[in-house]
Assembly symmetry: C2
């Protein structure tokens, strides 16, 4: 998605070879017009998948995911992160290790909101090692629902997340695929087969 | 906002005289079309205020706030909640006591994203005792910016939050004002002066 790559070039801050900071438009300050375009792009990319629900993880996934859900005219569910839980009866739970925060948290979704008939699109802001997306996929599978696709705003293509997801058979679309963060700048994957049909 | 009141009547769960659960459309599962209408309504209500930025608190505020920011064509900033902080140099911070969770958390906004010229619209999902809105207002004031308004999705009008905010001189608009949660059902404030111009 050219508009997103442009924004990353203009406003992204490369902190080191592994960390890209995009807090001016995605995960602290948010550009709502860009989120709307991102939602349109996800809706187009996953149009054939007959999505019935969008699932994301609080907090940074919510803005792009609610725009995708708006365009697809389906509900959004955001999974909640908690340190620990005592009562779990009515919840699906998975442990997710955060690469950014270097800590494990428990992720929960109420059983009411994902059912066996659902075709779920998982959306997240970043894909690095794939732990968040895999944790959400496990929750969908606990519900005996289908993971109809995984939509990522920014993929760090030099980390193993995408391969793990693809090997498990998931359909993955990332709107920006970063090949490298070396020498203080982001370069993107030149992908002849990119399925990104957006601007 | 009639559409919101109707949704509360249909799907809200009154847990006791103080607690209304709206996790089927606002703070766990999210109805994106309703959020879009909420964004339109906030944009209309605060049109005269020349808003330059929307500020909310993760996570439940993000969906309605990003839709309001979209309609107003301004950036959204979502404040982050943290348990404790060591490095605070580039952050505005305030302590906020959560009525729902009965715990205190530190709320932070990067100094980069609110500046003295900003006219800030604070948006939150609930108004009860007003602690979250007051904490966000203090952050705006730390930045020497102006609180141009406070927009609330659901106000528990039987709790003191609104009065505290109004006494401090803030312009407050709530889209649904709950007069009571007694006898297991939500009843709304019949307000002859309601400024809600929406459907």
């Amino acid at each position: 998605m050219k508009q997103l790559e442009q924004k990353i070039i203009e406003e992204g801050i490369v902190l080191n070879e592994n960390v890209l900071k995009v807090d001016s438009f995605l995960n602290h300050q948010v550009d709502p017009q860009l989120m709307y375009s991102i939602g349109q792009t996800f809706a187009a990319l996953f149009e054939a998948q007959k999505i019935t629900k969008v699932l994301t993880l609080e907090s940074s996934g919510i803005a792009p995911a609610v725009m995708a859900a708006l365009q697809m005219n389906v509900p959004l569910v955001f999974a909640r992160k908690r340190k620990s839980l005592t009562l779990k009866d009515d919840l699906y739970t998975e442990s997710i290790f955060s690469f950014t925060k270097q800590e494990e948290s428990e992720v929960t979704v109420s059983r009411k909101f994902i059912t066996a008939e659902d075709r779920v699109l998982i959306i997240d802001d970043f894909l690095a090692n794939g732990d968040a997306a895999l944790g959400l996929a496990k929750i969908v599978e606990q519900a005996q629902a289908s993971v109809a696709g995984i939509g990522i705003v920014i993929e760090k293509a030099f980390q193993p997340g995408r391969n793990k997801l693809v090997e498990l058979g998931y359909l993955v679309h990332s709107l920006a695929r970063i090949a490298s963060l070396s020498e203080g700048k982001a370069t993107f994957v030149a992908d002849p087969n990119r399925t990104d049909r957006s601007v």
